[in-house]
């Protein structure tokens, strides 16, 4: 399971303030914490407080000074994405994200190709987020085709079937599970499949429980990546256990310790 740490996002007050004032400390703190918890990538998002590409470049530099974890450059704006990618020190990265809109695909896929990054493709277009399985598959397939034509191999393509808040759109989660199954058979080898996990528990009381229950169900359907709260120990334990149950890891009594040891990396 590829875990993308969500915590360095301007939507969090401390990070928003840090970006506005270029105070590196909160950024460094959450970079270290998430790396220690086993994040494979750190998502970096300035959107809530800035559209300035220089702010993304600053954020990338601060994180790179702190940890060796690969980065997930997260923005709706191609200029911000480009600034983040240009600031990379050669470590692997994911471009987060394109949608299925032609204009987005045309601008963002070449960035991923140029900077040898992977890309997350969100199954949305001009008409907004899909409400059913078919539309999710149609948009996912469109992104997959376009990315392949642009020269990206399936291991550099992450499809996101768009997870909705359970509290407000309770019928959608099961459709996302079905779409994940369909994405798995788009190609052999299949693309990666990723969700923004915290979306599902938005404004619920049992956030952690809902997130980890869904992620286990989604892993069984074929999910292999998530932007999520890697700081949640119960989420990590559920993911480690699901990996065992899916026979991706050989059992040992201390498998949770193994999982943590294997992921305890990225420190600098």
């Amino acid at each position: 399971m590829i875990l993308i740490g969500e915590r360095i996002n301007a939507g969090f007050k401390d990070i928003g303030r840090a970006i506005r004032t270029h105070d590196p400390e909160p950024v460094r703190h959450w970079a270290r914490e998430q790396a220690t918890c086993g994040a494979d990538y750190l998502d970096l998002n300035i959107g809530a407080v800035s559209k300035n590409p220089a702010d993304m470049a600053w954020l990338v530099e601060v994180v790179q000074e702190t940890v060796s974890t690969p980065l997930c450059i997260d923005s709706n704006h191609p200029d911000v994405l480009r600034a983040g990618l240009e600031a990379l020190d050669g470590r692997p990265a994911i471009v987060n994200s394109t949608t299925a809109e032609d204009e987005k695909l045309e601008k963002i896929l070449p960035l991923a190709v140029k900077f040898q990054a992977a890309v997350i493709g969100v199954a949305q277009d001009e008409r907004g987020s899909p409400q059913d399985v078919e539309r999710r598959v149609e948009l996912g397939a469109k992104i997959f085709m376009a990315a392949t034509e642009a020269g990206l191999t399936p291991d550099r393509i992450f499809l996101d079937p768009v997870l909705m808040p359970l509290r407000f759109m309770q019928d959608q989660a099961i459709k996302v599970l079905e779409a994940i199954r369909e994405y798995r058979i788009l190609s052999d080898p299949p693309p990666h499949i990723s969700v923004g996990l915290s979306n599902i528990c938005s404004q619920t009381k049992e956030k952690s429980l809902i997130a980890r229950t869904f992620v286990v169900m989604a892993m069984a359907a074929g999910l292999d990546a998530a932007i999520c709260n890697v700081l949640d120990p119960e989420l990590r334990a559920a993911i480690a256990t699901a990996e065992l149950i899916l026979n991706k890891e050989i059992y040992s009594d201390d498998y949770l310790k193994v999982w943590s040891l294997r992921r305890a990396k990225g420190g600098k």
């Binding site: 050989i250 040992s252 009594d253 201390d254 040891l261």
Partner: protein
């Protein structure tokens, strides 16, 4: 039509484990042994590099082995009373790559020899031969924990392979191996999950994964060999696939198992249809070893000189891709 390339590449090589230390490295060995390092299944030279051939360790005991049947006693009957002469014979006449010294005499239910006596034997054998040593305890956990601190110190700097640690008894040996710079054999009862667990415990106690050798238990031909084979194969596939906790070289205890079964031991008088035990016994041991070579063994502990000779020849042939 183009024939697809079906070669398999492995993301991770098996750890390379070096045994023995030369004077330059702080020991007194005249030769060292390197095992592991392979990046492919056994002898799949077409898939990846196999830099080090499997090696054969010959068994030497600190007391005369009363239980060995005649065919495997005879080659050594003149040296049983002297572990150093016995070891010398194994190296000089039978080309053992290393010596596996078993401290059977320490067993409390047997001679109950003291740690100091065991250390004296270890020193004697180290003086007699230049190859690296495997030092195997008597198997009684409490006694082994008394013996190894003394024995480990007596062999300090020689980079021996000590064994065995198990799920229930590892702390003393880990401390000894760390203090006196030895490697360790991690034992499990034909159980991949426990094999992994023992390695986790050693790692957690501060011992490096690259200094371990997995001993998954061994069964003789006809006695569960296919079960052990499947465990070893799964272990090796996991190791090559990236599981660092199962990426250690594997040791198989061939001689002890092969010579424990009636098919190897029975005399011609007892089993007239089975043929001469002086041929049958070594054949049973060699055939058991062949199977484990194919399952991924890196170190074979063996007894009979003829079996050793045959297996060493087979290793040369298989390492040469069948051309040797």
């Amino acid at each position: 039509m183009e024939i697809p390339d079906v070669r398999e590449s492995s993301p991770q090589a098996i750890y390379t484990v070096r045994l023995g230390a030369t004077p330059k490295e702080g020991g007194t060995r005249t030769s060292v042994v390197t095992v592991g390092g392979e990046r492919a299944l056994p002898f799949h030279h077409f898939d990846g590099e196999i830099p080090n051939p499997p090696v054969v360790a010959m068994e030497v005991w600190d007391i005369p082995p009363e239980d060995w049947p005649a065919p495997v006693r005879e080659p050594f009957s003149d040296v049983f009373s002297s572990p150093s002469e016995w070891a010398k014979k194994c190296v000089e006449e039978y080309e053992a790559d290393l010596i596996c010294l078993r401290l059977v005499g320490c067993d409390p239910s047997g001679e109950n020899r003291s740690p100091a006596e065991a250390a004296a034997v270890v020193k004697e054998v180290l003086r007699a031969v230049g190859v690296p040593l495997i030092i195997w305890g008597c198997g009684n956990p409490e006694k082994d924990n008394e013996v190894f601190p003394v024995v480990g110190e007596a062999a300090a700097g020689e980079n021996c392979l000590l064994g065995t640690i198990t799920q229930d008894n590892y702390k003393t040996l880990v401390a000894v191996a760390t203090a006196y710079k030895h490697k360790l054999i991690a034992e499990s009862p034909v159980d991949i999950n426990i094999a992994k667990q023992v390695n986790i415990l050693a790692l957690d106690a501060g011992f490096p994964l690259e200094d371990l050798v997995i001993y998954p238990s061994t069964g003789a031909l006809g006695y569960g060999i296919e079960y052990v084979y499947s465990i070893m194969e799964r272990t090796r596939l996991a190791g090559l696939g990236g599981d660092k906790l199962l990426a250690q070289p594997i040791l198989c205890d061939i001689g002890a198992e092969a010579w424990a079964v009636k098919e190897a031991r029975a005399t011609k008088d007892e089993q007239p249809k089975w043929g001469d035990e002086r041929l049958r016994g070594p054949l049973w041991e060699a055939t058991t070893a062949y199977v484990y070579l194919l399952a991924g063994a890196d170190i074979l502990v063996m007894r009979h000189p003829r079996a050793v000779q045959a297996v060493k020849k087979m290793i040369r042939t298989l390492m040469a891709g069948g051309k040797g």
